[in-house]
Amino acid sequence: MGRIYIRGDEVRFERKDSLTVDAIFYDGNVIRDVEPRRLFPVSGGNKYITLLDSNGKEQALIPDLATLMPESRQIIESCLSEYYMIPKILKVLDRTEKFGILKWTVETDRGEVTFTIQNRHSDIKIFYDGRVLVRDSNDNRYEIPDNRALDPKSRKLLGYDL
């Protein structure tokens, strides 16, 4: 497999629109209109970013964003933050439950929102470092960066669910 790895300053990225970029190589090659996507959106963050063309075919792979030139990195990061909307839950305002369906009202970094969780067992994932990933009944995702760092009231409300 002749995969193109982008590991440093051999490439400069130019932004096309909110989600797509052009990759311009030092040797003159250009990969046009590719969308950066995370290969490990749940566990990996900014490692292993793939660049997909409009047919969903991989054109190149960035093993680690940290190795890019600062401007390029910024462009990729802003594309990713447009694409991946995983609001960070900062505070839990209310929690009710009826017959196993949970309803959380939370304050996130993108505003206040209320959502329901169908299945507590499969839709709430807790990691050892205290990170919690939540999927609501509409398949939207949310994240609690560290549930131990929440305020006491939020922690108490979530005591039943975590």
């Binding site: 694409y83 909307m85 398949d139 939207n140």
Partner: protein
Amino acid sequence: MKQTGYFINKELPAEIDSKLTPLMREGDRLIFVIVGDLTRKAGYGTTAFAVTETRFITVDPGLEGGVSEGLISDVESAAVKRMYGNAELRIKTKNGTTVTALRFTYAVATLCDMAAQFIGNVAAGKDLAEECETVAGTYEKLLCVCPRCGRRLLRPGAECINCASKGKIVKKLMKYVRPEAVRLFICLLLSGLSTALALLPPYITKTLVDDILPNKRSDKLLLVVAMLGGSYILGVTINIIKAYTLRVSSDRMIEALRNDVYKHAQYLPMKFYDKTSTGSVINRISGDTGTINGFVLRISQEVIVQFFLLIGIIVIMFVMDWKLTLLSLAPVPLVVVGAKWFGRRIAPFYRRIWRRWAAVTSVLTDSLPGIRVVKAFTGEKRAVERFEQYNDEWYKVDVQSARITTAFPQVISFVITCGSLLIWAVGGHWVIAGAGISAGLLVSFISYTSMFYGPVNFFAYLNDSYQQALAAVERVFDILDAEPEVPEGKGEKLDKVEGKIEFRNVNFSFDRTKKTLSDINLTIEPGDIVGIVGTTGSGKTTLINLLMRFYDNYEGDILLDGHNIKDLDIEFYRSQIGYVQQEAMLFRDTVFNNISYSKPGASVDEVIHAADVANAHEFIARQPDAYDTMLGERGVGLSGGEKQRISIARAVLKNPSLMIFDEATASVDSETENLIQEAIERLISGRTTIMIAHRLSTLRKANKIIVVDQGHIIESGSHEELMALKGKYYRLVEIQSMSDKIRASKESENFD
């Protein structure tokens, strides 16, 4: 908004209304409004997308001026761009610019899909009235969701089981209690009797201490002791009878509940099993039903008995002496408050313990059936480690909860002991001072007080067991209340099935993040042999899953002989289909029973004939136990091709009008493939047949071939037509014949 009669997904917020109303024009009817939840800067906020007969309007605080509008006639195309956790409705105009009309979370994704389709179709000049009907259909389906909990309902306006009141739970549990009512009532009477008997001894003790002992009445002594003994013997007898009767009725209740849960679990849609691990379902059937049963018994028996015991004791105590009674009641508030505190602390633990335990069992159900894989990849050590890790998690939580659960009863009984100390100290002082209290009264009071704390303790713990039971009820009713795939026994049955199948505008996604099938239109005539080809993940098997009605939540219609398959009786419908999967699934039973599974009660001749047709009879006959051969779990002991032929025999026996093969020959060698192919060709004559195939050679009999790619049908026609088209099918054939040639030349090399 002045105009009414437009569709909207929730109440129009005032701030949207005030922006939208001035833009409405006479003669340009508003058709629908989608109230969105995300601004274009991806923050939460109220937005809206409104569509009239000629225009589309966006209200979004992120826009300059807060609104924008466009003409549908200027639209080139409209599409939803799905991202992660959010999506955009993008509209491309004829002058080449693309605008983001609305950004939203998946909560309104279905509506926006519909909006994109509507705008695209109207712009392309399709009939407005027809498009409006699609809009109406989408909104109506949306209303099939419970407004309170968001649960999908069976039909519009149906009652949501989730939002039903707590009385409903009692009502549901009553279903299991009612058949045992007489027995339970007898138990209750017996309990009442034994309770009354239990109240007697302290009273007799009082006579002993106050009358017989001081007055040295030896004549009465024996009589009173005999009475005491008699009441004990009677009490024991009653308790034995009661315990036995109670055990019988409780076993009957749990049996019925377990049967029901299992039965219901059989009829649950595939969607349920996609999301719930089998381990947790097993846990609910084996463990939780028992917990619920225990609780029902507590409620129907002990609560009543203990309540009367409590009242009885208090009344007797008050009659005997009110001052001492108040004294002995003094610690009660402490006990009650303590129990409340305890209940609050313990509730989350039960849940956590259950979760950890479910994780442990899911490791079991995961790794034991896959033991071959575990061994093949030397994963034993990893499996053990994983199990130990989960087991340890369970241990930690259980120990944490033990800190509270073990200490609490001790503390309570200490408080109660303190109560009796109080009676001895103060009451004893009163006896000595001669304040109208006799020694006998004091002694019987101590007995009553210790009895009194029995019910108090019981009620204190009631909350605890209630919490435990509630968690179990929740999980069991999660199964019992889950909508079965279709109401049993409802729907049409057709007299004769010709086998014509139509897919009309079918769209499907497992979850809202990705469309698995889009815009599938397909007609299969009776007797057609249709081959479906496409790369893996293209949606071939999903197409079959929909046809099998494993999933019902698709958009569009699938028809059999002109009848919507959703309107047909599901048992009847599935009995018309012979389905052979890629992985033959055999039960742990004899070969004979495995074949006759499709037609219980089939005669031996029929089964042998089916095995003949499937080219299976010969190898079965060669087995020492022939048709009586017991198969291990998942058919251990047979080769892949042999298992596949048994599963084909199973399908043959059913004599279905419609045959489906899902890569039936994908995992067998060429020779077996030929045998199977032969069997299939024998089987499909005159039946409508759908075959999914990787090896295109399997499709030589097909008179129609459909090429699926990324959820779309991209080509369809006969082999010749598709070859002439030189599209995807042509390329697939080229690739395969090339690899066949290579294989053939290699084989000839080896044989030379």
